[in-house]
Amino acid sequence: MKNASAADNRAHLVAWALLLPGLVFLGALFAGPLLWSLAGSLGLDQGLAGFTLEHYAQIFTRPALRSGLLVSIYYGVAPVAVTLVLSIGLALLLRRHFRGRAWFNGLYKIPMAVPGIIAALVVMTLAERGGFLDRLAAPLGLALPRLVRDPWGVGVILTSVWKQLPFMTLVITGAFAAIPQEVSHAARTLGAGRWRTLLWVELPMALPGISAAVLLTFIGTMGSFAIPDLVGPPSPRPLAVHMYAEFGSGHLPLVYAIGMLLSAFAVAVLLGYYALSARAARLLGGSARKDDHE
């Protein structure tokens, strides 16, 4: 018995030793900066005596920052909602066979390789007053509405959608492709037309993939800086843009506080998603997600 537990201990030690490089890496590059920011946001970089919640209070009391939080959420939610609808449509289109499908299948992924800042510049040249589209429309006597730096952030939404569409479409196409054809066919022979098969069978079955794609793009856009800074309205601005401005004027503790708030929000959304999908998995008697780990 004694021997066995000694061997156990040794096995544990070996396991920890093997994990160490990874842990050091995560600690140095992830946990460290995060803790440093947390400490900074609470004024603890000045020592324990410096503890204050003032920087967090500022976010909720300064009107510009308070609306910044809402704008961040808006810039997270609105583009994702638009992208979701477009991506599902595209994924359904890509399931069919048509001429040039292979070409299209390759081309639609290009924006994934384009940095957000370039995408913003593209939208600016295209949709800015006096830009490409405006000049195209002018001879027809049409005036485009304000699309760049407009109060509703249409420019931001447009750019984000352009940027997110390939990723979301890729994931959703995959989620649809994973549904066995027979299941859809069974639904058809049981009296469900094309649309009802989509609504009651295919969408629910693709939901784990769709929701993961939504979540990842949401977190990505909520924290994005370049796009709202370039094509968003001057006011109100999202938290990420405020962060940059405060950084420029040297208010580091406030920058930390905003960063922590954005991260906390993203983590909360992530946890909410896990809780929901775990609950869904229980309801389904253990869904396909559980299967992956078995």
């Binding site: 066995p180 027979e182 299941v183 066919h185 069974a186 639904a187 058809r188 022979t189 049981l190 009296g191 469900a192 037309g193 094309r194 009802r196 009651w200 069978v201 629910p204 079955m205 389904l284 008697g285 253990g286 869904s287 396909a288 299967d291």
Partner: protein, 358 residues
């Protein structure tokens, strides 16, 4: 009276013909099987009837109504798939109710039909399970029940037993036969398993290379196939092309090891005939001067399987093992006797590879 009639139904992809123009009828209440090797077009044909694949032309009628122009959901057919194809995100109860909800059947009627299907498919106690909590056999029963509750004019089966293990396959096969007797729905069944086809069907349509080669009752197709392919595909057989001797009533064929046998159905003036020698239609006679030699013998309980080398052929011969049967040892010299009247087969040319290879 819901009988299924196909006329001139065909399918091609570009210049590749997947299904030659096909006509057949499944009379009301009959259980008909499409039997053939993989790639012969049987599943394509079934999917065309279901409406989940489109035909290149032809007409399909169900109960007199033309259905080939309708989408699958309006055809009044239900299908059971090889992969079960249950809805994984719905409980068994929801799976069974899905079609009824889609067809807007009143809820009292829904409950009545589900209860009935649960009883005949033995699903008691499984209604609140999710599909992934069920075994393969249970899943296929649910799929079957899901089709039955629809009370369709036609039931389609696409190799529904192929994914199950041997024992379960046999018991579910018998249940399917019993169920068909009880419910009596016109059924079209696809399989590559000849035992399954013979055990279940009122009638079998043998398919090969995109066309129906022959049709008939299991008994007729096995005992007196017209086409060489049928003889070869149903059960085990040796196909031999033998020279004809004599004319008219005395017409006989010479067997490779010297003997001769009477033959029926010979075309006028033919000088050779293609015949099928079934292992159970041959017998071995021990003879020290015999032309053949036993090269393998295996006792399987009810019968003994011999392999006999004779006249450059390796023949499989099955002998029913009675009480007094003596096992012949390997190396024993024997003669081979033909116990049944032979008849000449028609060859469609698709089976030349099997001919005379025994």
């Amino acid at each position: 009276m819901a009988s299924l009639t196909l006329s001139g139904v065909h399918k091609s992809y570009g210049s590749t013909v997947a299904l030659a123009p096909t006509d057949f009828e499944v009379p009301h209440g009959e259980f008909v099987t499409l039997l053939g090797p993989s790639g012969c077009g049987k599943t394509t044909l079934l999917r065309i009837v279901a409406g989940i694949a489109s035909a290149s032309g032809g007409e399909i009628r169900l109960g007199g109504r033309r259905i080939d122009t309708l989408p699958p959901e309006q055809r009044d057919v239900a299908m059971v798939f090889q992969t079960y194809a249950l809805f994984p995100h719905m409980s068994v109860r929801k799976n069974l109710g899905f079609g009824l909800r889609m067809k807007k059947v009143a809820s009292a009627e829904q409950a009545r039909r589900i209860e009935h299907a649960v009883a005949i498919c033995k699903l008691d106690g499984l209604l609140d399970r999710m599909p992934r909590q069920l075994s393969g056999g249970q899943q296929q029963r649910v799929a079957l029940a899901r089709a039955i509750v629809m009370q369709p004019a036609l039931l389609l089966f696409d190799e529904p037993l192929s994914n199950l293990d041997a024992k379960l396959r046999e018991s579910l096969r018998d249940e399917l036969v019993a169920l068909h007797r009880r419910v009596g729905t016109t059924s079209l069944y696809v399989t590559h398993d000849q035992t399954e086809a013979m055990a279940m069907s009122d009638r079998i349509l043998v398919m090969n290379a995109g066309r129906i080669v022959e049709s008939g009752t299991p008994l007729a197709l096995y005992r007196r196939p017209v086409d060489a392919f049928t003889a070869h595909f149903l059960g085990h057989t040796h196909l031999l092309r033998l020279p004809v001797t004599g004319r008219g009533k005395d017409c006989r064929v010479s067997l490779p090891w010297g003997a001769s046998a009477a033959i029926d159905d010979l075309a006028d003036g033919a000088d050779s005939a293609l015949v099928s020698l079934r292992p159970e239609g041959l017998s071995v006679v021990p003879d020290a001067d015999g032309a053949g030699e036993v090269t393998a013998a295996s006792f399987t309980g009810a019968q003994v399987n011999y392999t006999v080398r004779i006249a450059d052929l390796s023949l499989r011969i099955t002998v029913t093992a009675g009480d007094g049967t003596r096992l012949l040892p390997v190396g024993q010299r024997v003669n081979v006797a033909v116990g049944e009247r032979l008849h000449a087969l028609k060859s469609t040319g698709q089976d030349s590879g099997h001919e005379a290879r025994a």
